[in-house]
């Protein structure tokens, strides 16, 4: 089976080269036969990679420890379900997953456009196939998941079958493992589709809004996947890493945030191009940047150039990625410069107080955020270049810069939609903003009266309130106008209104989701924690809570041994819950892992970690965090997912008298 997998994977290389070349030839000659061959090449690449993935799954499930990847990421005792998802647990396997997703997307795009966009498709397929060529080179020649296991006997290397595998990294033995990596990868890889169309538009000179309309759903889908993937990663870190938080500005986290920032900017600025024919170069640049940052993110996690808690060790892929990335940059920038004259704006800006200027500010802020995150992430490398020492900038540095930018962006989500295109007069502004501003002002006074003194938190709550107000007013006002015109009842009117412009109201829903998430982020300003050494019967306090350690138990199964603390949680002398943080030691990988226990409500999370034994071995050390509003982050992400799906629904058209 390993041989078969190897052969299949090996075939991917010539198939993708064939696809790229025939696609290019089709673009030059405009021959239908060539384009059809390129299309079939894309289908073939998908078929071959799918079979290779199935072959690797077979090896993983049957525990074939003569294969290095299987032996290093699974063991006999590992539950079947984790054996299956071990496909993306290690470096080589996740690279195969990546390659697979590229081939899936290429096949889908080839099929979707089999009867249309003949001018663009050759170059679209060329770009996608070139990405496949690169990843197939990596998978076949540099990090092949079908590599057999070798062991040194004397001075010679011999093939070797391990008696048992090393097992799966304990941190990865968590249900989020099933969905987080594929979702994030879909988000990363998906950026190749808008990129391919943008490049095709640049090459063919068909620079109108055609390529933008064609890729709108792709851009939105991958944006949504990226967003949900990032939050899922945060959730996973929160419950698995045991340090009490969900975001630490770690390079790998930043790597996923970067393309999200640029693609969010794109989703906004593209509206200016659609309405005014402006920012054409900028939109191209954003799509290109999103793709390159996705590749850069993969490079960052696999090259070992910056150290991170969950980066893969130096895997020898660094140079390959650096070459591919530089080629991508040179190629795209050259094209962009070559076409710069054709990308001139059709219209000019008319007024500073208008929707389009709102979008411009939004883009400026996203650009700043991207540069800041990129700079902070790469600072260790940059500082090493100049001073010889790796200097890492920590979370406080990121927070200092990103909190103001984040709040400014949040404010814009409230202000922007209330501005009219082209020109908004001051009177209408007063009308739109008067009440919400007054409302936020009253909120601040109330919060101050309750003793809240954190400036950023006050600002954040005030802005959140303001934005939520404006969003609700948008829905209510729109529905009322429709109700008056159509005679429908209010709820029907609201439904019809949103279904008639899913993009606008899906967008508002996503804005609301961001507000909810920001309330969650703001909770960080009020986190508190305590650390205690406890034996059975001891107790300690955190805020209004009292904790009683009732029992410490030890247990063992074939996969790991564990220690569990039972902790009674009281508030005002009333028993609320019994929480049971746990510490595990996995035999196969010889690694410890903490299983935190979280008591979660809308208002706050009580988060308990068993960090270990005290020095004399008689007591256990437990760390308890009190984190307000964390649940809001997960709820916000859920609303964001719904909003994204809603925005992708086709607009409803009315059958009679349809004034669309």
């Amino acid at each position: 089976m390993a041989d078969l997998g190897n052969i299949l994977l090996f075939f991917l290389f010539p198939v993708s080269v064939f696809t790229a070349l025939t696609a290019l030839a089709a673009g030059v000659t405009k021959r239908r036969g060539l384009l059809e061959a390129a299309r079939r090449g894309a289908y073939a690449a998908f078929a071959v990679t799918t079979l290779a993935v199935l072959a690797l799954e077979y090896l993983l499930v049957t525990s074939d420890f003569s294969i290095e990847y299987v032996a290093s990421n699974t063991n006999f005792a590992l539950p079947l379900f984790y054996k299956i998802v071990a496909l993306w647990a290690g470096h080589n396997g996740s690279l195969l997953l990546w390659t697979w997703i590229v081939t899936i997307f290429s096949a889908i795009v080839a099929y979707q456009h089999r009867h249309k966009n003949n001018d663009l498709m050759p170059y679209v397929l060329f770009v996608m196939a070139s990405t496949m060529v690169f990843f197939s080179i990596l998978s076949v020649f540099i990090s092949n998941p079908f590599q057999t296991l070798y062991q040194e006997f004397g001075n010679t290397l011999q093939e070797f079958t391990a008696r048992d595998g090393h097992g799966l990294n304990p941190l990865l033995q968590h249900p989020a493992m099933i969905i987080h990596p594929p979702i994030l990868f879909i988000g990363y890889v998906g950026s190749v589709v808008p990129f391919a169309f943008a490049i095709a538009a640049l090459i063919t000179g068909k620079l109108g809004a055609g390529w933008i309309h064609t890729t709108r759903r792709w851009a939105l889908t991958t944006w949504g996947f990226l967003a949900v993937g990032i939050v899922l990663g945060g959730k996973w870190a929160y419950v698995e890493l045991g340090w009490g938080g969900y975001w630490a500005w770690d390079p790998v986290e930043n790597a996923s945030l970067l393309p999200w920032l640029t693609s969010t900017a794109y989703l906004h600025s593209v509206m200016i191009q659609e309405r005014k024919g402006m920012l054409k170069i900028w939109n191209m640049a954003l799509v290109i940047a999103t793709y390159l940052l996705s590749i850069f993110g993969t490079f960052l996690t696999r090259s070992g150039i910056v150290s991170s808690v969950h980066a893969f060790a130096n895997s020898g892929l660094g140079p390959a990625f650096a070459i591919f990335l530089s080629m991508g940059i040179i190629f795209s920038v050259t094209l962009l410069l070559y076409r710069r004259k054709d990308l001139k704006p059709d219209e000019e800006m008319e007024s500073l107080v208008s929707r389009e200027s709102g979008f411009l500010f939004n883009n400026l802020l996203f650009l700043l955020a991207t540069i800041a995150v990129l700079w902070g992430t790469m600072f260790p490398v940059i500082s090493e270049l100049f001073t010889g020492d790796q200097i890492t900038v920590g979370p406080p540095w990121f927070n200092n810069i990103m909190i103001p930018i984040g709040l400014a962006l949040l404010l814009l989500t409230g202000v922007g939609p209330l501005l009219a295109w082209r020109h908004t007069s001051v009177e209408t502004l007063k009308r739109s903003f008067g009440w919400p501003i007054l409302g936020s002002f009253i909120l601040v006074v109330v919060l101050l009266a309750f003793g809240m003194r954190d400036g950023w938190a006050l600002g954040s709550f005030a802005i959140s309130f303001f934005v939520m107000w404006t969003i609700v007013v948008e829905f209510v006002k729109g529905a009322n106008i429709r109700k008056k015109n159509s005679g429908e009842n209010f709820l029907v009117a609201m439904y019809m209104l949103s279904r008639k412009n899913t993009r606008r109201y899906g967008g508002y829903l996503i804005h609301a989701a961001m507000v909810v998430m920001f309330i969650g982020f703001t909770g960080n300003a009020f986190n508190s924690e305590t650390r205690a050494e406890v034996g059975e019967g001891d107790s300690f306090d955190l805020g209004p809570y009292t904790f009683n350690a009732i029992k410490i138990t030890e247990d063992q199964n074939e996969n790991y041994s564990s220690q569990t603390l039972e902790l009674e949680m009281y508030r005002n002398d009333r028993l609320i819950d019994v929480i049971t943080p746990e510490k595990r030691f996995y035999f196969a990988s010889e690694q410890p892992s903490t299983e935190v226990d979280i008591y979660s409500t809308f208002r706050e999370d009580i988060y308990a970690v068993l960090s270990g034994m005290s020095n004399d071995g008689t007591k256990v050390i437990v760390q308890v965090y009190r984190n307000p509003f964390v649940t809001m982050v997960w709820i916000g992400a859920f609303i964001l997912g719904i909003g994204t799906l809603f925005a992708m629904l086709p607009n409803l058209r009315e059958s009679k008298g349809g004034a669309e």
């Binding site: 021959r31 061959a37 659609e274 908004t424």
Partner: protein, 143 residues
């Protein structure tokens, strides 16, 4: 078993390269100017819809609404006029070309009973189903 696998692989390979050896036709690119105009028309329509929505939501004064609306309407008029004048020969070439191609395809697929011929929009060149009454891209009536 392995022979079967090789045979399948070979058949697959033949299927991929087959189109390369077919005597085939080329496609002609749509005339850029027509496409650009169609796009501008879409944009003006979108702008008018947005303007009316913004006005209904009370985001701009009546005076602004009227001035901007007038400028949009005259722009829409200009674009439509240009579009009407664009009976470009290149566009006709493309349509001719595509009809020929479809004709050939039809002959080859004599067995297939459910062949749907396409109708090309004279305005923007988009391929529409034969039964379509209006162009799916620009909305122009198809005869």
């Amino acid at each position: 078993m392995s022979y079967l696998a090789y045979l399948t692989g070979l058949a697959f390979l033949v299927w991929i390269v087959m189109p390369l050896f077919k005597k085939d036709s080329t496609w002609v690119s749509l005339h850029m100017e027509v496409e650009e105009l169609a796009e501008r028309k879409q944009r003006v329509y979108g702008n008018i819809a947005d303007l009316e929505f913004d006005f209904a939501m009370g985001r701009l004064s009546e005076k602004d609404f009227k001035t901007i609306r007038t400028s949009f309407l005259s722009e829409a008029g200009r674009v439509m006029e240009k579009l009407e004048n664009q009976k470009s020969s290149k566009l006709m070439d493309r349509i001719q070309n595509d009809i020929e191609y479809l004709g050939k395809k039809k002959k080859k697929k004599k067995k297939g009973s459910k062949i749907q011929t396409a109708v090309f929009c004279t305005e923007c060149g988009t391929e529409n189903l034969a039964k379509a009454k209006f162009c799916m891209k620009c909305g122009k009536g198809l005869s």
